[in-house]
């Protein structure tokens, strides 16, 4: 691996370009193709407070595709940063929200909220707030469970971590199955589509509570970067350097659970973003979280924006659930990493 002095100067701007291009493409691509010129005009008119030049175009851009693109940026950034943080906390490059059960825990809680919400009258409007909160709690419980179960003598070996993740994911899956069993047809359809992962159903009212939660989690991550580096050094080492290790880990886990919970609540099960993005970026810019976390946020946003564009274009007029795409990309990548980790004997 090459020293990463000038890699930062290349990689970060490149990621910004990818994100900006992804936002523009995400806004203009779809069943109604809009030109970049229209996008530019409407953005300019909106910023200056003028009436729309093309009212339909403005509605499509800002009310139909706008929330979807913003959600893609937020969810991608959150999932990728969460992956990077979990990998540091577990000191293990294979940790990822969907692999160690955080997503399943958040998902089970979210599905339970959707299903049980059907029995409570008048919950409809509150659901947009309840969903991210319950998913946060579900994700938190799952993460704490895996952290506790998988720990062997101060370390978290890949093997116990993956096994604990399988078990927690299985429990989450069983709970989701149970809720689906109890659901009526309408709920079943909603749950099913949601589980595959999609940004498609985004509307401003539905996503704003989750966006706030993700925004808060993301805003706190710069505080973690230096201490995450110390954790990578080793927990004993971090403690001897004056870090209150347990308190720090709890804080980080709460942030991850909040972010992933909010992401899962509004976009369903989108897996592997947290493993692909931090890994590729570590190869390019090294493991220092002061650079890795912002780069992961950009990389995750870019990945989801472009995956969402692909999801819209691959099988028109239908849309592929984006979770299928990320799993198709991410699972082979994960297997490759697993092979490599086994060969190097690292962290087993």
């Amino acid at each position: 691996m090459k020293p990463a002095i000038f890699a930062d100067a290349v990689v970060l701007p490149a990621l910004i370009v990818l994100v900006v291009a992804g936002v523009a493409t995400g806004l203009t691509t779809g069943s109604a193709e809009l030109s970049l010129a229209t996008l530019g005009t409407e953005v300019w008119l909106a910023v200056t407070g003028s009436p729309a030049d093309d009212a339909v175009a403005r509605t499509i851009l800002f009310d139909v595709r706008g929330p979807r693109v913003v959600l893609g940026v937020a969810v991608g950034a959150t999932l990728a940063i969460s992956g990077a943080i979990l990998q540091a906390l577990f000191r293990n490059p294979l940790a990822e929200p969907s692999i160690i059960g955080v997503s399943a825990g958040a998902g089970a809680a979210a599905v339970a909220t959707i299903a049980l919400g059907g029995f409570v009258t008048g919950i409809g409007a509150a659901l947009v707030y309840l969903l991210p909160l319950s998913a946060f709690l579900g994700g938190l419980i799952a993460t704490l469970a895996v952290m506790t179960i998988a720990r062997v003598g101060g370390q978290t070996p890949v093997l116990t971590m993956l096994l604990a993740g399988i078990a927690v994911t299985a429990i989450g899956g069983a709970l989701m199955g149970l809720m689906m069993f109890m659901s009526n047809d309408d709920q079943l359809r909603a749950i099913n589509f949601w589980m595959l992962g999609s940004l498609g159903s985004a509307t401003w009212t539905a996503i704003i509570p989750a966006l706030i939660l993700m925004g808060l989690a993301l805003a706190c991550t710069p505080m973690l970067t230096r201490n995450l580096n110390l954790i990578l050094l080793g927990e004993r080492e971090a403690a001897s350097l004056g870090l209150a290790v347990d308190r720090f880990k709890n804080l980080a886990v709460i942030l991850v659970a909040a972010g992933v919970g909010a992401a899962v609540a509004v976009s369903g099960m989108i897996g592997f973003v947290g493993i692909i993005v931090p890994h590729l970026l570590r190869l390019a810019i090294g493991p220092d979280h002061r650079v890795l976390l912002p780069a992961s946020a950009l990389g995750g946003a870019a990945l989801l924006l472009w995956a969402d564009v692909a999801a819209r274009l691959l099988a028109p007029p239908a849309e592929l659930p984006i979770g299928i795409l990320t799993a198709l990309m991410g699972a082979p990548f994960f297997l490759w990493l697993l092979r490599r980790a086994g060969r190097d004997g690292a962290a087993w």
């Binding site: 110390l230 990578l232 001897s240 870090l243 962290a347």
Partner: protein
């Protein structure tokens, strides 16, 4: 009293008594080397010294302050610890690893000294040339020297600082070649001359004899001998504690004693592997 000291410390782990009524202190300016067979409680002793583990009974004081009364960062500014096995498996650059030694000084406003401390730590352990290399690509011995450089960067103080500091080194020579083993303990001596209190766990008795002001011998969780190397490291004690027959040879040119294993198993006390051989 200016001292890092354990008093009547007892530790029980899983129903087994790992440390038994141990009282032991190190003062600034001295190198204290801890010796003893595997499982004697040396590493546990170091964990107690560092504050990483709390004793079940007894007290641990650093300069008359109970260790647990200091915040983790305040403690880290007074003592640095080099654990036995470093487990860093992410490719940080060597310089970045050493720079992490300055983490405790982020909050106390002295971080402008960081560059000096880092450069000094790397120079003292001869890893300056490796500064831009990824840690994971180094050999075991080089990694150990980088870890030592990090610990040195943590212990560095501007000239004229009088706050006592302590270094705790758990087998700092384990994967080093002969020359670097001596260089490392020589460094420990220099640090002590400069006013640091150094505690090191070492296995090589001659290395200990050469560099220690005092040696402490642990056996089965108890401190069984403490004093100047020449007084403590006698064949009788070594036979009793390690189960190994040795002779002590005087080298007239250096006026030093050297411990020489005879290659024979201890007749009176069963040494390692004895039951298998019978």
């Amino acid at each position: 009293m200016v001292e890092l000291a354990l008093k009547n410390v007892g530790v029980e782990l899983g129903g087994r008594r790992v440390l038994n009524e141990v009282s032991l202190g190190v003062v600034p300016g001295e190198v204290l080397i801890i010796l003893g067979p595997n499982g004697a409680g040396k590493s546990t002793l170091l964990r107690i010294f560092s504050g990483e583990m709390e004793a079940d009974t007894g007290s641990v004081m650093i300069d008359d302050i109970a260790l647990r009364d200091l915040s983790p960062a305040a403690l880290a500014r007074r003592r640095s610890l080099m654990p036995q096995q470093a487990s860093l498996s992410f490719p940080f650059l060597v310089r970045d690893v050493v720079a992490m030694g300055r983490a405790p000084f982020r909050s106390d406003g002295t971080h402008h000294d960081d560059e000096t401390a880092i450069a000094w730590g790397m120079a003292a352990t001869e890893v300056t040339l490796l500064a831009r290399r990824p840690y994971t690509r180094l050999s075991g011995g080089e990694q150990q020297r980088v870890q030592l450089a990090r610990v040195l960067a943590q212990s560095w103080r501007p000239r004229g600082t009088t706050t006592p500091r302590y270094l705790l080194l758990d087998e700092p020579t384990a994967s080093l070649d002969l020359a670097h083993q001596h260089a490392t303990l020589h460094l420990a001596r220099d640090l002590a001359l400069d006013g640091a209190g150094v505690v090191a766990v070492v296995h090589d008795l001659n290395l200990a004899a050469l560099y220690a002001d005092r040696v402490a011998v642990m056996s089965n969780g108890s401190l069984v001998a403490l004093g100047r190397p020449d007084d403590v490291l006698i064949p009788d004690m070594i036979a009793r504690v390690f189960g190994l027959e040795v002779r002590r040879i005087h080298d007239p040119s250096s006026d030093r004693h050297f411990i020489l294993p005879t290659g024979q198993q201890n007749a009176a006390n069963a040494g390692p592997y004895r039951s298998a051989a019978q």
